[in-house]
Symmetry: C2
Subunit: 215 residues, 2 copies
DNA sequence: TTTTATTTTTAGATTTGTCTAAATTTAATT
DNA sequence: AATTAAATTTAGACAAATCTAAAAATAAAA
């Protein structure tokens, strides 16, 4: 599998979590910053290799084989992110790009040894679960902060949006994975929340609450 | 710079340590397991990018720019090898292939943080010196075991040949970097050596002694 | 110094991944 | 149901990196 093929497979994997009935050509093109016609070409290639099932105009889904490959790439991506943050001291907004390259390094032994070295982490620095060597993903129980009842306490466990902008906003507000959050009040008009994070009062917009997972 | 260009630059670097006046097309092709005609094409490309100076039929040399790039690739290769052996527990004969891929990961910050994480090692698992962030290589004093006087004691500090076969032979004989070696006797006929390694008597061929550096 | 052998380069083709522009299919609107 | 709009695919082209086969240049041998 080439790097390009791997990038396609991973994008299809992520998109099919949202649209399991079939992923659109255009959606793939958007994620990979390429053109729809290039996607069509690649779908034929991946279909020939039995990594996706593809019928003209009908969108694509991953085959068993493609699904497993995708999880192995995601596994590598997330383990490398843990390495970069835990061992090398990168911050969580700096690691995605580098992991985007590291995820294509080809040794299975490497990734299993890295997993062990990191202590078999369950989640990456953004709270996303790490598939094990067999591809099994332990689902992490979590809710969006925007959907949680008032006056109960939770822990931050993940982010939905892991863009630099959002992560840096969280850093600024001293919100990190593990922080204790309690919703004090919710504004009816625009769903703005008054929260207490690690004991400190804060007002956050619905957009923020909509991208923060708690448990 | 593409991965392919980087591989060419690195090979030219290694070959020019032996033939500083100019590296042959055929030699490059041999190292990269490709054809001479492909090398010619690439030399034009690298020349256009001012990474090598190239004149038809005359061989190539690295420019300042190419020389620096080469050292940065070698730096990455060797640091990753240290990581694989010291942190992940690979043996020294398993790491070259993987480092061959890791050396192309593009972040300068990554490699400098990795360097710090590893404690700024001076040499890789095969005893080869690691260029620092500026490209400076501290030369390691060393002699081939085949050229050393009899009855003096040395430490193993490196290997000239780092093929799996040779490294596995050394493992079998319990010869590692750091081992203490003393040449007891040298056979006139074929230069076979009788040595004492960490106190243990051993007979080794000239070919072995010719690929083991001591200090 | 010719002749022969070796090395290197050119010419032309192939594969991979991409693009633009045009054609086709499907979906959405009148 | 007919028309318009959007999504998708085809056709044809291009750059990167490679190859084979033939031509040219250099080195070695007679
Ligand atoms: Mn990637
Ligand atoms: Mn992540
Ligand atoms: Mn390489
Ligand atoms: Mn090495």
């Amino acid at each position: 599998m080439t790097i390009s093929e791997e990038n396609y497979i991973k994008v299809i994997y992520h998109l099919s979590l949202v649209s399991p009935k079939g992923v659109n050509t255009n959606a793939i093109a958007g994620m990979l910053d390429t053109k729809a016609s290039s996607v069509t070409d690649m779908m034929k290639k991946l279909s020939d290799k039995d990594l996706v099932s593809y019928q003209k105009y009908q969108g694509v889904t991953l085959t068993e084989k493609g699904f497993h490959s995708a999880k192995m790439i995601v596994r590598k991506h997330r383990l490398w992110e843990v390495f970069l943050v835990d061992k090398l001291g990168f911050s969580w907004d700096e690691v995605h790009e580098i992991a985007e390259e590291l995820e294509h390094i080809k040794s299975e032994q490497l990734i299993n040894k890295l997993d062990a070295f990191l202590g078999f982490p369950a989640a990456d620095p953004h709270g996303d679960p790490i598939p094990d060597a067999k591809g099994v993903i332990k689902k992490i129980e979590k809710q969006l902060l925007s959907e949680v009842e008032i006056n109960a306490s939770f822990h931050c466990v993940g982010v939905k949006d892991s863009s630099t902008d959002f992560l840096k906003y969280l850093d600024k507000q001293k919100i990190a994975l593990g922080s204790v959050v309690k919703v004090i009040d919710k504004e009816d008009f625009d769903d703005t929340l008054t929260v207490e994070i690690d004991g400190k009062r804060l007002t956050i917009s619905n957009k923020i609450a909509n991208n923060l997972y708690v448990q």
